[in-house]
């Protein structure tokens, strides 16, 4: 696409211009919302921000028409309709109202939005960025569909409580590039911290659901999954991946080491596979530079009987795909010897994959979409714990042992899930 090159340059400049804009308050005219390059820029940013995923219903939903239930630790919220329909969408909103919603977490009437809408990340985009997104959204087919958004249980349905939450966890403000880092790093930082909102899943949360920024991108739990550590940590992060490994994963959903499954499969399909190569490399550069907070703790050594049993199960049930050396097959079967999911101290994803099986993402570049069968009917809790402990503590892995009780809890919770 010929506009990509142009908008890439625009993006690179765009990372710097808002900083300039912040120091030049007289600069206030908005770009033309109907201009071709605005819509292109907005489309690209909307992909980076993945508006589509939350604001579109999964089964046959009309694009951006809302109605998708979003699971939060406090209950389920339904996403609103953001098509340009006047009555039921955002067609009648002013630009300022739209920008306020995305960057400050405020509804049209000034009430506070829930951080399921990741305004805490989107605040890093500039006003111009957000207006570009608006310009793009204005070109979407309007859908007349009223959505009841406020579906959290008491007391969380009282939006006023968000005042306290925002005070604790929301730092508004555009992205400020670090002059000590390269342009590529800054671009990656903007994308990951801003529209990419990776921390929504990958940063652990406090009990109030805000980011625990001390463990930035160190791994987080949501919807029955554990989103792994994506810092440059060697033990549990992406330290052993190359920048190219990360970029390929973001583009195709697969690389020589692992495959995107679960919510990350959706993310790759709807968002990062649609960015350009240099942006993915930038994100990869940024991620790999992040310090890890999990490398400090030493793992508990696994007990012998558990390891022996785990090895037997591994050989009999797992090695036919994942290999006796845990090396898998590139682009097909994940290399458990290098897997961040296998190394995570939180075994939620690992347990889930073993119990239920999974299908990895199919993208244009990697259409195979290999799947893993379910082992939940075959292995009891102690056996699942044994094989995961073995995998987590063999080859170069050193994860916390998995207990039968963790498996039991996971089984109970998963039995109520639809996916």
């Amino acid at each position: 696409m010929r506009s990509i090159a142009k908008s890439t340059v625009g993006m690179m400049l765009g990372a710097v211009v808002p900083w300039l804009a912040a120091t030049a308050p007289g600069f206030s005219s908005s770009p033309d919302g109907q201009a071709f390059e605005q819509i292109q820029k907005g489309h690209y940013l909307a992909n980076a921000a993945d508006c589509f995923a939350c604001h579109t219903q999964r089964e046959g939903g009309k694009p951006f028409a809302g109605g998708r239930p979003i699971e939060t630790p406090f209950g389920t919220i339904t996403s609103p309709n953001i098509t340009p329909d006047n009555e039921t969408g955002i067609g009648a909103w002013t630009d300022n109202q739209f920008v306020r919603a995305v960057r400050e977490g405020r509804g049209r009437d000034g009430s506070r939005l829930y951080p399921a809408m990741p305004y805490t990340s989107y605040t890093k985009m500039s006003r111009d960025d957000v207006l570009a997104i608006r310009a793009y959204l204005k070109t979407i087919q309007p859908v007349h569909r009223a959505v009841q958004s406020n579906t959290l249980p008491f007391p969380f349905n009282i939006r006023a409580v968000m005042r306290v939450w925002d005070a604790l966890y929301f730092t508004p403000g555009e992205f400020k590039p670090d002059p000590k880092k390269s342009a590529v790093w800054n671009r990656g930082a903007f994308l990951v911290e801003g529209p990419g909102h990776c921390s929504a899943c990958h940063t652990p949360k406090s009990f109030l659901g805000g980011d625990d920024t001390d463990a930035w991108l160190g791994g987080g739990k949501l919807q029955g999954w554990f989103a792994p550590d994506i810092t440059g940590g060697m033990r549990q992060g992406l330290g052993s991946w190359t920048v190219s490994d990360i970029a390929t994963y973001l583009k195709t959903g697969h690389n020589g080491i692992t495959a995107a499954t679960g919510p990350m499969a959706e993310e790759v399909l709807d968002s990062t596979s649609k960015l350009n190569d240099s942006d993915r490399m930038a994100m990869a550069t940024y991620l790999r530079s992040l310090p890890s907070h999990s490398d400090q703790s030493a793992p508990k050594p696994a007990e012998q009987p558990v390891m022996v049993a785990g090895q037997a199960i591994y050989r009999d049930e797992c090695s036919a795909c994942h290999g006796l050396e845990g090396k898998g097959t590139p682009q097909l079967f994940p290399a458990l010897a290098h897997s961040s999911i296998a190394r995570a101290d939180d075994p939620s994803t690992a347990i889930r994959l073993v119990l239920r099986g999974v299908r990895s993402v199919a993208t244009k570049d990697e259409p195979t979409a290999p799947g893993m069968p379910s082992f939940g009917w075959q292995l009891n809790d102690a056996q699942v714990a044994a094989v995961l402990t073995y995998i987590g503590n063999t080859w170069n892995n050193a994860a916390a042992p998995v207990t039968a009780d963790q498996v039991k809890q996971a089984r109970k919770l998963l039995s109520l899930r639809n996916e």
Partner: protein, 242 residues
Amino acid sequence: MTLRRREFLAGSALLLLSASSSRAALLSGQLPWLPDAGSSPVPVRPGPWVYFTSDEGRAVEALADRIIPPDSKTPGGKDAGCAVYVDRQLAGPYGHNEGHFVQPPFMHGTKQQGAQSAKGPAQDYRDGLAALDKYCQAKYSGKRFPDLSDADKDALLKGIESGSIKLDPADGESFFKQVLKDIQAGFFADPLYGGNRDMVAWKMIGYPGARYNYLDWIERHNERYPLPPVGITGSAAWSPKT
């Protein structure tokens, strides 16, 4: 602008909902997938006979122990659970010819044309065991098949097998063939089906069972494979030893 929707998780086959749509599902756009999909096997549970009466069960156990007699190294058909296997199989789809073509007319044909009976194995066993019982009681002064000496049992079975002894009213030759086939299948099938208890049959021959990865062994020629057998429901080695 309408974007084409792509499902990829959780969603089953994408259903087209138009007025003239067929009720057969239309698959399009992506490979369908559901969690816990597939149909995992349900292991046989030990317990009372499901199909056999207790007399029938006893008779089949005795048959199993002649077809596969116990010896010092390996249990016989009875202790290996072969009669349990047969009982559960007959109680299931196999017993009533499920999936077979059972439309009339039923005509007698050549051997090459295969079985042409309306009866399924379950009924064949009922009839065959009744005929066997009837024969034994008549020939052996009221004794039933399980009560005969091993030598008498073997002689009787050899006679039925060759056709020199006729059962009435069942067809003894084909009944014995059926029993032979089923007992031996139960002996060597995965233990989840009730026979081959503790994988004794597999241990007997050196078959490693339900394994899937021999990549490190394909080029080890003329060497005994050392690992013990494992079944679909696992082995003792899978549980941590406390």
